[in-house]
């Protein structure tokens, strides 16, 4: 072992961890560590993608810290990381501040669901647009409100008080959800508006997807928004939502893909889907972006990153559905594959 290790040419920035991994796998050649920070929303998918890539290429170590979209953009702008990640694409002003240039690459997509807790209620809870806007604006306060009952014929809903649960920390999930609410309601747009954290009219809030899910599960009458992958994993009941066409749509791979199919991908890759059309489209979906520099000082970093992204666009897409994410449509994969070439050493 020792003699093999002594033959390595250690690149700057290599961590001790990577050295040990290499030593144990007894492989020759250079090794490289990439550092990334960003969104928590796609983190389970990214972790899987990077660990699978590491299995295939043990000389490449990728550290992804899911600190949040805001931290991702900030650290990326400050040049502290090799790549960033964000659920909200960078704005033009933000892009201007990055001197090495920005390549934004949608790597996966996901949806936000409304999880609820209604003891004694079985079956699918259907929520019209009017109903869930009303709930989050604090205008609908009990589960037997006529506006909720209208969409659920033949079902008796309890008179339980509605407890709205939100994210207390700034998050991309909140951004996606409030972006959707603003798109479908002028009152919401003029009121709380869109943001990673907004001034909620009602409710209590928990920290992270985990905190929100725990509160929903512990509070009879609760309803809150969580990332689909997380809700699926923790088996929170999810509401069936009314989409732009007026149909009630359950969240699943088919309805999510239908939603993405209706979104055109522009050249700068900043595709928003605040309220996707399509008869079977699930209404709250979003892409999530990897942020890369156009120029990297070290050619090997640029080449490795491109290889990782190409793997992420092809083989890694197979993991996404199981984790609750939406595999990218073929057209988007083609567009992103082309965009990767903007990254140059």
């Amino acid at each position: 072992m020792g003699s093999k290790r002594s033959g390595f040419l250690l690149m700057p920035g290599t961590t001790l961890c990577a050295v040990l991994l290499l030593a144990s796998s007894a492989l020759g050649g250079g090794n490289i560590t990439l550092q990334g920070t960003g969104a928590t929303f796609p983190a389970p998918f990214y972790q899987r993608w990077f660990s699978e890539y590491h299995k295939l290429h043990p000389e490449v170590q990728i550290n992804y810290q899911a600190l949040g979209s805001g931290a991702g953009v900030k650290q990326f702008t400050d040049g502290l990381v090799d790549f960033g990640a964000s659920d909200a694409a960078m704005t033009d002003d933000e892009i201007k501040q990055v001197k090495d240039g920005v390549v934004m690459l949608p790597m996966t997509a996901g949806s936000v669901v409304l999880g609820y807790n209604l003891p004694g209620f079985t079956g699918d809870l259907r929520l019209s647009r009017e109903a869930y806007i009303g709930i989050f604006l604090g205008k609908i306060t009990a589960w037997n409100d006529p506006k909720i009952a209208a969409a659920n014929p033949g079902v008796t809903l309890p008179a339980t008080k509605i407890t709205v649960v939100e994210r207390s920390d700034g998050s991309g999930t909140t951004y996606v959800f409030t972006n959707h609410l603003s798109a479908i309601s002028d009152e919401w747009k003029a009121g709380p508006g869109v943001g990673k954290s907004v001034n909620w009219p009602v409710g209590v809030s928990g920290k992270g997807n985990a905190g929100v899910t725990a509160l929903i599960k512990q509070t009879p009458g609760a309803v809150g928004y969580v990332e689909y992958g997380y809700a699926k994993e923790t088996k929170v009941p999810m509401a069936v939502l009314q989409n732009k066409s007026g149909n009630y749509v359950k969240v699943d791979l088919a309805s999510e893909q239908a939603a993405l199919a209706g979104v055109a991908m522009p050249a700068d890759m900043r595709a928003w889907a605040p309220d996707p059309g399509g008869a079977d489209a699930y209404p709250i979906v979003t892409y999530t972006w990897l942020l890369c520099y156009k120029k990297y000082a070290k050619p090997e970093v640029a080449e490795t990153l491109k290889a990782i992204i190409r793997y992420g666009l092809t083989d890694a897409q197979n993991f996404s559905a199981a984790l609750g994410y939406i595999p990218l449509p073929a057209a988007v994969v083609a567009a992103v594959t082309k965009a990767v070439e903007q990254i140059t050493p």
């Binding site: 600190l67 920390d169 700034g170 954290s197 001034n199 920290k207 509160l215 509070t219």
Partner: protein, 359 residues
């Protein structure tokens, strides 16, 4: 008979003389150059570290203030009286957070003090011993040395268990609060709200996280601080006071409430101030249990928000403007904590002055 003591007398002074000479020669030496240097170095290091602590506090305050300065200029006093925190519109006000911080801390402190001082009395005034002794006398084991030390052992065990509470991470308290405390208080809260809802204290229904669960968990978190220091204060009350009270015919409770507790009041008060400091700064457990809603309500079932939780929740995603506002909020939290400590120190001094004659 005569020869034995004489030999011992003869030999002993000789030994003592020898020893005495040798020992006095080895002890009575001026400090070596090394001793002097070591002493000076130690004194210098201790002084440097002591000032270092003060310096670090000053640096923290200066740094926080410098980042907060734009926000202080922009929002001024309106920041403290404002009730909206909306980063998108750059409107910042922290009155609900100040209210929530003080309200949860005070309720938590009241509960924590009642239980903490009661525990301290129980562990220091021999209640366990009299109870166990009574039982042992009945079965005839009172004179057994092993059983005789049983109360002391159990007291030590209870004390360690209590102090262990301080070692539990804050996030564990938060999870425990969500999964145990909230379901536990829900039926009581619902009943109180339904039947006594006209009292402002029970004015809203419990929506899960809120002031009451947060305060209950805070009470448990400050319990080890209060009970451990109070116990030490009670143990340190001079025995002559206790004996004098008993000698004058006071019952046990009269002695405890009339003499021993007042004599230990300084220490007990100190423990409460320390507990208050801990409660004010507690972050993660409150971020998980308070509900983080921008609400000012006297109802203990209402959600609230605290300054520390606000900082923890908003800092990671904050933009430059919001960071300034958050630093301003941090500065105010610092000021509140400082104020509490100063008031506490002043009251402690007064209390100590009043009790000087007892020592």
């Amino acid at each position: 008979m005569v020869s034995v003591p004489s030999t011992s007398v003869d030999s002993n002074p000789a030994l003592l003389d020898e020893d005495g000479v040798i020992e006095s020669a080895s002890i009575a030496q001026p400090p070596s150059a090394f001793d002097v240097a070591a002493d000076r170095a130690f004194r210098g290091a201790a002084l440097g570290l002591a000032w270092g602590v003060v310096l670090i506090v000053c640096l923290v305050v200066v740094k926080v203030q410098s980042v907060a300065l734009p926000a202080i200029h922009a929002y001024g006093a309106g920041f403290i009286s404002g009730t909206v925190w909306d980063a998108n519109r750059a409107i910042f006000g922290i009155l609900p957070q100040i209210f929530g911080t003080l309200y949860t801390s005070i309720i938590g402190l009241i509960i924590g003090t009642i239980f903490g001082v009661a525990i301290a009395i129980f562990l220091s005034e021999g209640f366990l011993a009299s109870f166990i002794d009574g039982g042992l006398k009945m079965v005839g084991y009172a004179d057994n040395p092993w059983f005789g030390s049983l109360p002391t052992r159990i007291e030590a065990l209870l004390k360690i268990t209590l102090e262990l509470l301080a070692a539990i991470p804050s996030v564990v308290y938060g999870l425990w609060g969500i999964f145990v405390v909230i379901p536990l208080v829900r039926p009581w809260a619902d009943w109180l709200n339904a039947h006594l809802g006209w009292i402002p204290l029970f004015g809203t229904s419990l929506s899960g996280p809120g002031i009451l669960p947060a305060s209950l968990v805070l009470a448990i978190m400050v319990l080890p601080t209060i009970s451990a220091i109070s116990r030490d204060a009670l143990v340190a009350v001079p025995p002559k006071l206790r004996e004098a009270a008993m000698g004058l015919g006071a019952t046990r409770w009269e002695a405890i409430l009339g003499v021993i507790l007042p004599a230990a009041a300084t220490g007990i008060f100190g423990s409460i101030i320390l507990g208050f400091g801990r409660a004010l700064g507690e972050t993660i457990a409150l971020a998980m249990l308070a509900g983080n809603a921008n609400v000012i309500s006297w109802s203990i079932f209402s959600p609230c928000s605290t300054l520390a939780a606000l900082l923890a929740n908003h800092f990671p995603e904050a933009g430059a403007v919001e960071v300034g506002a958050l630093m301003y909020a941090a500065l105010i939290l610092l000021a509140i904590t400082l104020l509490v400590n100063i008031v506490g120190a002043v009251i402690l001094q007064r209390a100590e002055a009043g009790l000087r004659g007892l020592r």
